[in-house]
Amino acid sequence: MIANIGYGGLLVAFAVALYGIAAAIYGAVKKNERVAESARLAMQLTFPLVSVAVVALLVLLVSGRYEYAYVYNVTSSAMPLYLKITALWGGQDGSLLFWSWLLSAFTTAVTLRKWDRDREFLPWVVVVALVTLVFFLTLSLFVDNPFERFFISADGGEVLAMFQPAGTFAVLPPDGRGLNPLLRHPGMIIHPPMLYLGFVSFVIPFAFAIAALVTGRSDDRWIRITRRWSLTAWLFLSLGLLLGSRWAYDVLGWGGYWGWDPVELAAFMPWLSGTAFLHSVMIQEKRGLFKRWNMILIILTYLLVIFGTFLTRSGVVNSVHSFARSALGPLFFAFIALSALTAFALLVWRWEKLHAEGNMTSLLSRESFFLFNNLLFMGLLVICFSGVVYPIVAELVTGNKVTVGPRYYELATPPLFLGLLLLMGIAPLSAWGRSTVKTLGKAIWKPLAASLLVLAGVILLGVRSVMALTGLWLAAAVGFITLYDYGRAVLARARRSGESLPLAFWRLAGRNRRRYGGYIIHLGVVIMAIGIIGIESFQVETQRAISRGETLSLGAYSVRFDDVKSFDTNDNRNVVRAEMTVIKNGREVGQIYPRRDFFYDSQQPMTIPGMYSTLEEDVYVILADWQPLTADRATFKFYLNPLINWLWTGGLVFILGMLVAAWPAQEDEPAGEVKP
């Protein structure tokens, strides 16, 4: 009954969305305001309707109705309540429904804005948003229906259906299989919603861009309206990526935080094009340049969002957390092809209209630095895209799979990342239109000199890798330049307004959030870069089987194997847990507990590292092997991960900066709205 209500809600939402598309097109073409308004109302209705389905599924999940295949696959009675709720996005069917739900929430939110002066955009925004929604609802309704139940046919076969087929009888499994243990980590519970929120909010700027193309408005109105949406999308996508890396570091047990896995890249690619977009729209806003390029970027971002969802859902590429091959593939393919070709045709149609309205006056200008920034981001995107797509091509042509692993990206991307770091230091100091070498030099030379001291210090510490030296020096330089520039501005403000320095410090950021939010984001990136350079260049590891009481040493640290215990827990796990003492320079500094969990209901093992974490480095130990017969001996893998905590700290600073930049401010929104 509950399932039928949920499914019914989806069906009605589907019909309403179809009506909305038809009404919007009719209303726009026939210039019929009332019909167009009904399309807006239809779009507003989708959120409550899809919510009915989500609530229904939640009720099934929480009440343990294991006759429903989805409930059976992702929950078990031993799971705590919050995991039963988050199991909503723990499997394929549920996460697709969740996607639709978020999208409907966002589209509904869009309908609530004041449309008075952008009336002509409305119908086309509705069309784009609802077509996307209809696609995802189609998947939930006809391919991966989360409300299907188990039935057994006369010949003993298992049948999945909404309603009992003739000649079958219902089955009621006593318990479910439980959520994939890898997905039970807090990071993994919040990570998918963050990514999906990021994905979904990029649909909105795309919808406005298409609306601008269709209506032929060549100004930057669509960019101004959707600026906050783009920032929100970017915030969530970044958060999702950060949480994903933290999860990988804590749970996957391979000593790293980023594996250049196709599924990670699926989220990273829209992030790259989205970041390029966020920078390059500013050129259009300030100088009227690169209108076509911005269109291309937002279209690309949207396509990458769909492509990313497709990659993780269709099983075209195999990956740690990708789901099995399914019927989704062809549908996604059709949708990507349709959107790509439509957007392409629209862009060609409006190409001439989108010509540049300004010109460039100097290479030493903000716009030209942003252009190089875009070039580097696109370079990264091309590399990632090639790495993801090449195995598919190779298998098609040669019949054999290949792996494009981290080594490929580690070979190709560092120069581009360093280039971005460099630009990050200079670009914010440059002026729109034209800067002079003199003003730039003046803003740079002191921090640059300070960064040379850092470089010398690092060399004295014994670092010889050219790449690491370049990276650390650039990071120091950019960090200093950014802080120095902010400091100068604070002084100037204090001088002019007579405010005290702390007040000036605070008010300055508040006055120009977009600019100084960007500064904070850049500082976050610098701190993260230091962490990444640390672990990428200086990570060391060792592995050996040791007996109780023996130690394993690496650098200044050693770990002593004290004990190991194997026990069953009441949530159906077998845990093998080692106790180890961390010793630094002969002093005992802490205890760690690397362990292996085996989940009986899903028959999956999980390796959880023991970690002793400091600002300088992490002691990261994995229980690599343990035979119950020789309980006195176990194999441990011991990593020393230098500076990894800088990565997480930098991530927090980064997010803080995004909040500053995206927070509704009084002075910039009205100004944007006043524009004719």
Binding site: W254, D261, L289, N318, V320, A356, N359, M360, T361, S362, L363, R366, F372, L375, G379, S386, Y390, P391, V393, A394, V397, T398, N400, K401, V402, T403, V404, G405, P406, R407, E410, L411, A412, P415, L418, G419, A431, W432, G433, T439, V466, M467, A468, R488, A489, L491, A492, R495, R515, S537, V540, E541, T542, Q543, R544, S553, L554, T607, T635, K637
Partner: protein, 176 residues
């Protein structure tokens, strides 16, 4: 500096940076060598020696988890095979080739640069070059374009802002 020449110079500089960067990245990033301080008593070939090779290999059973940390029985066997080969005096290259021949190229973290795989190495570089060319021509065109009505007479807001800050700073320095 004339705009066209400036643009060309910038193009060259960017290209040079990319090439230098690529060369650095090819030789510069040494994978931190595993170190084991006490030679382990029993095996001739230590786990670290095995892992040094295994970390750059993938066993198709654990997708995207490097061989050195994949917990399955199959991967354990593969690691033992690496150990055996190392004990027989094989080097890293020989072992990688052996595994690639036996289990196909997908076991390698980096597809060998031959045949179709060259596409993976040359393709992105070519696209990148095309991108640089596109930027170069765009900049050239935009710099040449006649100004749409007194360019310097339209300073954007932020320039104004920076100018004011600079002025403020100058005054401050004078007063000191």
């Amino acid at each position: 500096m004339r705009p066209a020449r400036a643009a060309r110079a910038a193009g060259y500089v960017l290209a040079a940076c990319l090439i230098v960067g690529l060369v650095f990245s090819a030789f510069g990033v040494p994978r931190a060598a595993a170190q084991s301080e006490q030679p382990s008593p029993t095996p001739v070939i230590s786990d670290d020696q095995v892992n040094a090779i295994a970390r750059d290999m993938y066993c198709p059973i654990c997708d995207n988890i490097p061989l050195d940390v994949c917990p399955t029985a199959a991967c354990a066997e593969w690691r033992e095979q690496i150990r055996t080969k190392l004990a027989e005096g094989w080097d890293r290259k020989q072992i990688e080739e052996f595994f690639a021949l036996r289990f196909s190229d997908r076991v390698l973290s980096l597809p060998p640069a031959r045949g179709l795989n060259l596409l993976l190495y040359i393709g992105p570089a070519l696209i990148l070059l095309a991108g640089i060319a596109a930027v170069y021509f765009t900049v050239k065109k935009l710099l040449k374009k006649p100004s749409a009505g007194g360019q310097t007479a339209e300073p954007a807001r932020e320039d104004e802002y920076i100018r004011r800050v600079e002025e403020e700073l100058r005054r401050r320095e004078r007063e000191k």
